[in-house]
């Protein structure tokens, strides 16, 4: 019996120890949580002040994270979902799984922010990234008429892929199906996520890859390579605002609130430009790192409202699948 009580005692101590460090589980996209992404640094910075264990769980690319959340439903382990964008927020809010954030901050975003559920953490413009030695097309029609080869992402799993769909929709409206039909022979392949596509581009499988106007900064700053650029299209560039939200059924609500508030602070925003290679939602004290001033600035920014994006998505995906499956 003595042994048994020892074991029971040990178990109590163990659960006690566990209870002292609550775990905050954040579902995010794979790239965010990779060792070169923002995840590790943000984890260190937040854990320094929260007395908790922050665990990032990669679940595919952005849109796939939402799909996974729908599958897990109210039983999900997630306390926070990080990495959706405004094209997905209406759909995400409709699941009823998210709770209002309670965060209001003066953001440095190009748009006014009024969403009460989701908190923005960074933003950027979608663009095709290519080598400077490749003659840049001026718009999608030019690109479709050229022999240039591009890699894009699947709009059903990846937020850049979905962004491209809505970009063409916002720019061309009812003509978008024709644009896709014309683009079909330029598309080398469609990857499930951003990292696969960017990897294919870097290995020389295509002339350009769908990414962000900020991606050349990575090559410039991290690799001292100024041979990459982003094509500026005259119909304008679609914008992405990446967001995080709190799961209503979280078992650590205070911790989740603390994390949402932490997103707007230096410990999070300061990490973003040189790890996620996007513009921060709140400008860090040091400003943008040197090199960002060389990036192209689109003349026109395009963005559908969350509701319009939700309404446009399903028909646009069907249009895209039909055009590319021929």
């Amino acid at each position: 019996m003595k042994t048994l009580s020892h074991v029971a005692g040990l178990c109590l101590i163990a659960t006690g120890a566990l209870a002292e460090t609550p775990v905050l589980t954040v579902y995010t996209y794979d790239g965010f949580n990779s060792e070169w992404g923002p995840g590790p640094q943000i984890e260190t910075n937040f854990e320094a002040e929260c007395g908790c264990d922050l665990q990032f769980v990669g679940a595919g690319d952005g849109a796939a994270v939402l799909s996974r959340l729908k599958l897990e439903g109210a039983n999900t382990d997630a306390d926070i979902v990080l990495g959706l964008d405004t094209n997905l927020t209406a759909d995400a809010a409709a699941t009823g799984l998210f709770a209002p954030s309670g965060v209001s901050v003066a953001y440095d975003l190009p748009i006014a922010w009024s969403d009460e559920v989701f908190v923005p953490f960074d933003w950027g413009y979608f663009a095709f990234v290519a080598g400077k030695d490749v003659a840049a097309p001026a718009n999608f029609r030019d690109l479709a008429a050229s022999d240039l080869k591009i890699v894009i992402q699947d709009p059903r799993s990846s937020t850049p892929g979905l962004g491209l769909l809505l970009w063409i929709k916002a720019a061309y409206g009812d003509e978008s199906a024709q644009i896709w039909a014309d683009l079909a022979d330029n598309i080398v392949t469609v990857t499930p996520g951003w990292s696969e596509a960017y990897g294919l581009f870097l290995e020389g499988e295509a002339d350009a890859v769908l990414s962000y106007t900020t991606s050349p900064a990575y090559h410039l700053i991290a690799e001292s390579d100024d041979t990459k650029t982003a094509w500026v299209f005259d119909e304008g560039h679609y914008m992405q605002v990446e967001v995080a939200g709190k799961i209503a059924g979280t078992d650590v609500p205070d911790l989740a609130d603390a994390f949402l508030a932490f997103i707007a602070t230096e410990g999070f925003q300061g990490v973003i430009p040189t790890t996620n290679w996007m513009y921060p939602a709140v400008m860090p004290a040091a400003g943008l790192p040197a090199g960002f001033e060389t990036l192209v600035q689109p003349a026109t920014a395009l963005l559908l409202s969350a509701e319009d994006a939700q309404a446009a998505t399903a028909p646009a995906i069907e249009e895209w699948r039909a055009a590319l499956s021929q």
């Binding site: 799909s67 079909a184 020389g204």
Partner: protein
Amino acid sequence: MARSPVAIIAPRWPGAVVVALVLALTLGTLASVLFRAGAIGTLTSADWSAVRFTVAQAFVSAAVSVVLAVPVARALARRQFRGRSALITLLGAPFILPVIVAVLGLLAIFGRNGILNSVLKSFDLPTLFIYGFTGVVLAHVFFNLPLAIRILVQGHLSVPVERYRLTASLGGSVLRLIEVPMLKRLLPGAFLSIFLICLTSFTVALILGGGPSATTVELAIYQAVRFDFSLDRAAVLAAVQMAIGACSALLVWRFDLPQPVEGGLDRHSMRWDGQSLWARVLDGTAILLTALFLVLPLGMVIWRGVAGLGDLPDVIWPAIGRSMTVSLVATALTSCAAVAMALRGGRAVAIAMALPLVASSLVAGVGLFLLLHPVTNPAHWALPVAILMNTLMALPFATRILQPSVEAVQRDYGRLAVALGLSRWTYVRLIVLPRIRRPLGFAAGLTAALSMGDLGVIALFATEQQQTLPLLMYQLMGSYRTDAAWGAALVLLGLCLVLFIIMDRGGRIDADL
């Protein structure tokens, strides 16, 4: 139908339980998906092109495999050369080779920066692009050409040598009198088995398929669940998948399906034909090209894998642990279930063996998840579900391997056991099991290797907490940590081989019965 005496002695209810479970896991899970979807989804034009792509790639893969197999099998059957038995052994390798490992090996040879394209580029020739239809067919041929060759070599060797003598003494044509009739008998069955295998292909299309223009039905199911969370479409696609499979299975039943070949291929028949220089060059080329096609990708896995071992992340250890657990538990379950099925026999078992071949393991997985969904977070159950799916998928092969031996034991010892008044379980333990050890070991080895390397349902739901070795490898490939992916490929290949060899040999130790 008169019952044989063996049916009286061998316990029949475990087989019935297994059949019921198989029905529940295939048809029951499909019903669960349909029920949850609430509506019958409609197929869009893109879904139909996925159906067309699936059938087209399976047709071309099967056609290319059997056509290429004809000259290679003839060359192997009539030539004797150094390394011939090694090559024959190698033809069995694709059965236990994880798909994802083979695809990585193929990429190293046929990919953009692969060996072939480097050679083509240096001669200013147009390069091969592996993503899409070409790549899917190429990978399927890699896996199924050996199967076709084995079937045909067996066909060649089953021709009595007297017939060659007779043909030679009559001055007749070996091709017309012997080979063409033999091929006519074997090719339809070989073609259809390969066609069926390629219909439900998932991993190959996942990695080498490129977007909506190169999507198989199985991949479309994966995308409908993982990307769209559109269960109604997944359910309808699954029904379509089953319908295609059932149609082809009906076709298969009309032909002689070649039995899996286990040995005896390293014999060669004395033949009088093919002595001309032209025939020798032709045979030599066929053998050389086949050997290169099979050896080079595997060689690359070993070559680059050794270099990549140092880059392996620490999470490889838990991943190995999970994969070993999945593999061993699935093997134990499959072995028990296959013995139970083989002992029972009959029509219900025949149907239960056909169902997993045409069902979508992804839909079965989704169905199970949906049943768990109201009760718990289904993601926690990714590994048990993977174990069940691997068991389900391996069961038809394992049962088929066991059936002949079990039937032989029943025939030879059933009456004696009845006369001795042995209890049912004593009969199974003392009489049946010792006599089916060899095929049981072989079946267990195949199951262990298949389960170890499978990237099916686990790719749908697992996160890092349930990451298996193939999933880790897939993610390393996706994030372009190529060196680490090569290292993981080598580890995975090694574990599959070791598991297969241990179990296969284990069945032979003291197996003098």
